[in-house]
């Protein structure tokens, strides 16, 4: 009697899975996709890529101001080493070093509380 009941129960369960297998497949696919998206977003945020992504909302205004070509001429990694080739490298290097050092980035003190929070300009 008990065997019959459990067999009937198993049969119901099997027919339930068979009836809803398409729905289950779609649900499993959605769960897998959500998990992968979550993992990707965590990696995106933790790796520091988010901080360099100027396509984020709020950054579109400046995204077109990104320098696409850094205009630095490459020096060949192969070839002879002579005084002429070394001088050529030094000339190229000096040119690029001047450009690289032209901007003292992140200088100044824009977050000084006296200017940012407590000045008369802030209260305007």
């Amino acid at each position: 009697m008990d065997d019959n009941t459990s067999q009937a129960h198993r049969g119901e369960l099997t027919s339930f899975w068979q009836k809803h297998r398409f729905f289950l497949l779609v649900s499993a696919a959605i769960v897998a996709a959500l998990s992968l998206v979550t993992i990707s977003l965590v990696i995106y945020n933790l790796s520091g890529s988010a901080q360099l992504d100027l396509s984020r909302p709020g950054y579109q205004a400046v995204s077109d101001q990104v320098t696409r070509n850094d205009s630095i001429d490459e020096y060949s990694a192969s070839g002879d080493v002579t005084l002429t080739t070394i001088d050529e490298f030094l000339r190229l290097y000096d040119e690029q070093a001047t450009k690289a050092k032209a901007v003292d980035a992140f200088n100044g003190d824009p977050l000084n509380p006296e200017l940012l929070e407590f000045s008369s300009a802030a209260s305007e």
Partner: protein, 182 residues
């Protein structure tokens, strides 16, 4: 034995006093007057707007400067080092500076991420409700921005150091080879 116990006890007292003084000075830095709190509450939106504009302009600066510093390394330093190595020439001087430059570039990246996260956290604080935390967060962001600026200064210094190392290599090369090809 008695002397040792006395020494340990004295060290403990000094440590506790130092900790207490440290906490006091840290809290003193972030203590606001009522007037300042009121100013922050009143100007909350405009302060947040200013921080947001700074965040956007600094992000652009980070991307553009990062590209320049990265290219200096990959298009010039690494290639010159490789060229010298391919001819079995002594490139230790330039390689050492390149190593320091790489580490400074890593610091620049890491410290910028810290700074950006601090700015984001600051903007999220409700300055009308909690002006003290908001102020403290701005002070932290200010310190982190100063660290990024120090990284930039260090990178500029290393760019000069590399130039000097390359010039030294040239001098040695001239002395050893008499200016001939290698």
């Amino acid at each position: 034995m008695k002397y040792r116990v006395l020494l340990v006890g004295l060290s403990l007292v000094i440590a506790i006093v130092a900790l207490f003084v440290g906490i006091r000075s840290a809290s003193a830095q972030t203590t606001l007057t009522d007037e300042q709190r009121s100013l922050i509450r009143t100007n909350c939106i405009s302060i947040k707007n200013t921080i947001n504009q700074l965040k956007v302009s600094d992000a652009l600066l980070r991307v553009n400067r990062g590209q320049v510093y990265e290219s200096m390394r990959s298009k010039l330093m690494d290639r010159f080092n490789a060229r010298l190595a391919s001819k079995d020439l002594d490139n230790r001087g330039v390689v050492v500076v390149t190593g320091s430059y790489n580490s400074a570039l890593d610091d620049f990246r890491t410290h910028y991420v810290d700074y950006e996260r601090q700015l984001t956290a600051t903007i999220r604080i409700d300055c009308t409700q909690d002006p003290d935390s908001f102020h403290a967060s701005i002070l932290q962001a200010r310190e982190k921005r100063a660290i990024v600026n120090q990284d930039v200064t260090r990178l500029h210094q290393l760019i000069d150091d590399y130039r000097n190392a390359a010039a030294d290599f040239r001098l040695n090369f001239e002395r050893v080879s008499g200016g001939g090809a290698s």
